[in-house]
């Protein structure tokens, strides 16, 4: 009873300090400053994509949507979208199918060599993609898969599989092993246990992992950039080339291209945030520590 009282007091006390202290204002000011600048960055892109001309002044001198058509045709956005979708969906499917059983083993069993196995899944997260991306790209080219969709899918599964494992392991750990034991007692095979008992229980985890891998694959630049070629470029790589070679096409078309990319990301993000908590976006990183 007494402790509960203190809790209430300290909580209300916290809230008061929270509003009044100068430090609180500094913190909220910084957050507001961050978001204003972020809005400025995104706003600049969106507004410039609708501009007839925008060199001086707060806003463009006129408005047009014609650059969306230019971008759509010149950058072959339909092809890019198709390639991005194929790559992302393949990566999600492969990494879930390959990662889930491994996550199960790592969550349930202790065996010699487990640490080494864990390390092989952690290193791709602890290393910058460009470090292992360059030898990997060389290897992909030596397999004659450079510039192909297959090559792009392969390189993107390298960070995706560990991601799935690290996101799913905590979900599986939460499930009571007695449920599996009971199913086995009733004569279920391992396969049946997996499909009929475990899968329905880890659906939230699977959904979270799939959506997070989807977001990551759409945004992952370095690995795709190193192996993709014409026909297998994803949106983000095409956007990079467009910005890098700015001057060839009007800047409004590049902005329109960026808007296409943003819309794709926002669409996935809105779907994802219905099922995934924002802090789960970093949960794979957190498990680096517990393993």
């Amino acid at each position: 009873m007494r402790t509960e009282d203190t809790t209430v007091i300290s909580k209300s006390g916290n809230r008061k300090v929270f509003v009044k202290s100068p430090l609180g204002w500094v913190i909220w000011g910084s957050v507001a400053f961050f978001f204003i600048n972020l809005l400025g960055v995104i706003g600049t892109v969106v507004i410039s994509s609708f501009a007839t001309e925008w060199f001086d002044g707060w806003l463009p001198s006129g408005w047009t949507t014609k650059f969306y058509l230019t971008a759509w045709q010149d950058y072959q956005v339909p092809n890019l979208l198709r390639a991005t979708l194929k790559v992302a969906l393949s990566v999600v499917t492969i990494s879930i199918l390959v990662g889930t059983p491994a996550a199960y083993v790592l969550a349930r069993r202790d065996f010699p060599g487990k640490k080494i196995l864990m390390l092989s899944f952690l290193l791709p997260i602890m290393l910058p993609p460009i470090t292992y991306g360059i030898p990997l790209a060389t290897f992909i080219y030596s397999l004659n898969l450079g510039g192909t969709l297959t090559g792009v899918i392969i390189v993107n599964t390298v960070p995706a599989i560990p991601f799935v494992i690290l996101v799913l392991s905590p979900f599986i750990e939460q499930i009571d092993p007695k449920i599996e034991a009971a199913a086995r007692m009733c004569g279920a095979t391992t396969r049946q246990i997996f499909i009929k008992v475990l899968t329905p229980l880890i659906i939230p985890g699977l959904l979270a992992a799939a959506l997070l891998v989807l977001i990551q694959t759409v945004a992952l630049f370095e690995l795709t950039y190193l192996v993709s070629g014409p026909g297998s470029n994803t949106l983000v790589v095409a956007l990079y080339y467009a910005v890098f070679a700015s001057g060839i096409r009007p800047y409004q078309a590049i902005s329109a291209m960026a808007v296409f990319y943003m819309l794709t990301t926002f669409f996935i993000l809105i779907v994802a945030l219905r099922y995934v908590n924002p802090t789960q976006m970093v949960s794979q990183a957190r498990s680096v520590d517990s393993k």
Binding site: S48, A102, F139, I215, V236, Y240
Partner: protein, 301 residues
């Protein structure tokens, strides 16, 4: 006779396997491990092997000698650290006060978290594209600063060090914050309450309770932020001066492979990048292991 022997030994072996809980179930991890073996472990060794076989046949250490012998290349190490270290420190230390404020249920927490996810998922390329217009001399930022009279000349923030730094803060801070928040939420609030009952001020509670318990988590947050900032490729190329002070290791490696087609040299630069990056991570983790590493959940015991 020999048959019996093999039977006995195979039986023992099975027993040994069972003792170490090795059974058929472990086969489930095999596909994932094979994927890592084929597309991560093998290529990494292959890359290391390639780096010792220079294309100009200058001997095993040829690539490394030419890298460290060339002041321009050597400087790319300094350029990388000059960007990655301050950025990861800023991101982590800016994340702490905000995470402390938002550790309990606060109104607007979910909104802030959701908004912070946006720059993270948009990625470095889009942020770089937006910043290249936003930070321009005629962009909104300079326009605002000029209008408020804070500056009389537009500030040059593009094609130099600052553009890269700003871009890495915009994409890296949300990551550092969400990670710190997930660590801080794991600390049992009862500990702080106990300190509060004993008369500790809010600063003392933070300094002597929350911060020490949070430090191991901050070390990991720093490491992962450092990994993100260490591969600054798109922002260095689009916002920095990739021939000058943004000639970072990632840019040097990409140039070796795309403009000189020297995959051996590119592999050598990747090896150097990986070794340096892991050295920093290892140093941080060693320091971390000397810190308190007990339970953060409190309770009796």
């Amino acid at each position: 006779m020999s048959e019996v022997n093999t039977k006995a030994s195979s039986f023992d072996f099975r027993l040994w396997l069972a003792d170490h809980s090795i059974d058929r179930l472990l086969l489930l991890a095999v596909p994932a491990f094979l994927a890592m073996l084929a597309f991560f472990i093998y290529p990494s060794f292959y890359g290391a092997y390639l780096s010792f076989h220079p294309m100009d046949k200058s001997g095993a250490l040829g690539n490394y000698q030419s890298f460290f012998g060339d002041p321009y290349m050597r400087e790319s190490i300094w350029n990388t650290f000059r960007i990655a270290l301050p950025v990861s420190l800023i991101n982590v230390f800016a994340a702490v006060p905000l995470a402390v404020r938002l550790r309990h249920k606060v109104r607007g927490k979910r909104t802030i978290n959701t908004l912070l996810v946006i720059p993270m998922s948009l990625g470095t390329v889009l942020v770089a594209e937006g910043l290249s217009m936003y930070l321009a001399p005629n962009g909104w930022l300079n326009r605002t600063l000029l209008a408020t009279g804070l500056i009389s000349e537009p500030v040059q923030l593009l094609h130099n060090f600052w553009g890269v730094i700003i871009s890495l803060i915009i994409t890296g801070f949300p990551f550092a914050f969400l990670l710190t928040l997930s660590y801080i939420s794991g600390i049992n609030p009862k500990m702080e309450e106990a300190a509060s009952t004993l008369g500790a001020t809010s600063w003392q509670r933070f300094r002597y309770i929350t911060f020490p318990l949070l430090t191991p988590g901050l070390a990991i947050t720093f490491c992962l932020s450092f990994v993100l900032a260490f591969s600054v490729f798109p922002s260095a190329n689009l916002l920095g001066n990739p021939a000058g002070d943004s000639h970072v290791l990632a840019v040097a490696a990409a140039q070796a492979i795309f403009t000189q087609y020297d995959y051996s040299m590119a592999s050598a630069i990747s090896v150097i990048t990986g070794v340096l990056e892991l050295a920093v991570v290892a140093a941080v983790l060693v320091m971390r292991s000397r810190l308190y590493s007990g339970s953060t959940s409190g309770g009796k015991g």
